[in-house]
Amino acid sequence: MSIQYRKKALLEAKNLHHSFVEGETITKVLKGVSLEIRAGETTAISGPSGCGKSTLLYLLGLLDRPDTGEIFLHGKEVSQTDDSTRTNLRNHSIGFVFQFHFLIKELSVIENVALPIRKAGISKEIAKSRALTALTRLGMESKANRFANKLSGGEQQRVAIARAIANSPSLILADEPTGNLDSANSENVFTLLDNLARQENLGVLLVTHNPELAQRCSKKINIRDGLII
């Protein structure tokens, strides 16, 4: 497969199609979606439930493969690369934030944040130091040694963001990160992501049902019936 290099866009998706098969039923979720994510920008994806927002996010995050179409990350086509390459890209270039924090309850806050750093082959001590730096950026350093399930919902989501940025990725994919939070915490989390995009020059792609938050993003994409409208 030839590797094409493109400039400007951090992430570019071209004509993505994706469907789910259950028994004999084939449901087409994405019917030709194209978009660009740039560094330093927050992009919101919104649309009704079941329109394919999360599916698009998982395709762009290399957790799933599109039926057809191309995905360029840093100008390199990655949609059909092998599992090992995709895994490495997820570890080094992409950070996920989900609606639920998905922290591992048996680990402390700092251990949770250090997980992707350790996976990158960094020593335990350096990983903990980097994790602490990430937690400090999110104002969570004082809770570093607590167990994740002892924190409030807003704090857990901040730890999840710290974990997403711990390995210094270039892209943050957030799937309704404020969906489970009250308005004050939602505001906090959004501000954090927006600041990260501006200050760290990250690309942030945000799936949200909240029209106010979507409105505040650099770019807004609406999806309906598997198509961008």
Partner: protein
């Protein structure tokens, strides 16, 4: 907490499984080894008895229309002539076999031995003592009297311990042997005990020439008992000898097949029974891991989203399995060693097919290797199946379903 308890129970099962396996194998093979030592020390490794009638051997050659043909004749239905012919010539031939370490000519017959008040039928074994101690443990089996006494006096007799008990014989007593060509007055030079009750009840040793005269078989009827360097190769050596000298030749394995099969069956059945403990432990580990995979599916999916590979997910279970296995094997071997030693010290009087006053155990490393191998197989399967399931978790699907 419950999972830890279940895991500890499985570990305990592995320890017990390995220890029991080692102990039962040590016992069954210990008794078997002692039985083999007893019968080798009593009846030798190979016996050469009757001569085949087809003295031309099993291969005959014919020529038809100028073509040479070889015919192989089966010995299954061959007829025999009782006893060996020309022992001296046979000895000469047998001396060409480097594996043979001793040859003893024996004349077997029956008679009735009378003491002061009782008499009993006995099996006479006429031997040359110097030859016979090369093919048996008779020297060690003497419990009263001296072999030298027997050697010096051609009219002396060595009697089995149970015969002596029944006829109330002591060293130096005079006994009468009836049957054969008449009566024979003999002096008891020694009592022996092989541990095999059938032998101790019925066998008595006479000088070969005395036995020949008594049984009226001066020139025929003898058999040869052989000892070999490596008794485990007796069947092959026996087959070679039979083909070479045209006499029926039987190895100890063939002779004692029934008992050897009994020991083999015991060893296998105990191995199967004890392996079930390891199997149950493996099922316990599988159960714990399978539940863990279900419980941790979401965590595994999240780890995958962070860049952990499928193998990283399975490695967690494989490592845990390996740790349980390593600890289980180490403790199992220690417990097995100590238990085997403890059992070897337990007093147990056995008389019948051999004679012992304590449990016989065999310190054989193959028992440990077998136990370890069985444990590795069961625990590996028990860990590998959940590990594979963990590796196959599709992160996108799980996260989508969780939200």
């Amino acid at each position: 907490m419950g999972r830890r308890r279940a895991m500890t129970m499985s570990l305990f099962g592995i320890v017990l499984g390995i220890a029991f396996f080692v102990v039962t194998q040590a016992q069954t093979s210990g008794f078997e080894a002692f039985f083999v030592k007893t019968i080798l020390g009593t009846n030798g490794a190979i016996k050469i008895s009757d001569r085949f009638q087809d003295m031309d051997g099993t291969v005959s050659v014919s020529s038809v229309n100028g073509k040479t043909r070889f015919h192989l004749n089966s010995r299954e239905n061959a007829r025999y002539i009782e006893g060996i012919s020309n022992p001296r010539l046979l000895r000469k031939a047998l001396n060409q076999f480097p594996q043979i370490t001793g040859i003893s000519e024996i004349l077997e017959g029956t008679g009735s031995l009378s003491g002061i008040s009782r008499s009993q039928s006995i099996e006479i074994h006429g031997i040359k003592i110097k030859d016979h101690i090369m093919v048996s443990d008779l020297e060690d089996q003497i419990i009263r009297g001296e072999l030298n006494e027997f050697n010096l006096n051609p009219m002396s007799i060595l009697v089995g311990s149970r015969i002596a008990q029944r006829l109330m014989l002591k060293i130096g007593d005079r006994v009468t042997l009836n049957g054969g060509t008449g009566n024979l007055q003999l002096r008891v030079a020694g009592l022996f005990e092989t541990g095999v009750s059938q032998i101790d009840k019925h066998r008595a040793y006479l000088h070969l020439n005395t036995a020949k005269a008594f049984l009226g078989k001066r020139f025929s009827g003898s058999i040869l008992q052989l000892s070999v360097k490596d008794p485990t190769r007796a069947p092959q050596i026996s087959a070679q000898i039979q083909e070479t000298i045209n006499h029926r030749t039987v190895s100890w394995q063939e002779r004692e097949r029934v008992w050897l099969d009994v020991f083999k069956a015991l060893r296998i059945s105990s191995a199967i029974t004890v392996s079930s403990i390891l199997l149950l432990s493996g099922l316990g580990i599988f159960n714990v891991f399978a539940i863990m995979v279900i419980e941790k599916t979401r965590d595994i999916a999240i780890l995958r989203s962070m860049g952990f590979k499928p193998f990283d997910a399975s490695a967690v279970f494989l490592w845990q399995g390996a740790i349980v296995l390593t600890v289980g094997i180490t403790l199992g071997i220690i417990v097995g060693l100590l238990s085997t030693y403890a059992i070897s010290q337990i007093p147990l009087r056995i008389r019948g097919i051999f004679s012992t006053d304590s449990f016989m155990v065999n310190w054989d490393s193959s028992h440990y290797y077998s136990a370890i191998l069985i444990a590795i197989v069961f625990v590996s399967i028990a860990s590998w199946i959940p590990a594979r399931r963990a590796a196959r978790i599709e992160p996108a699907k799980i996260i989508r379903e969780t939200l």
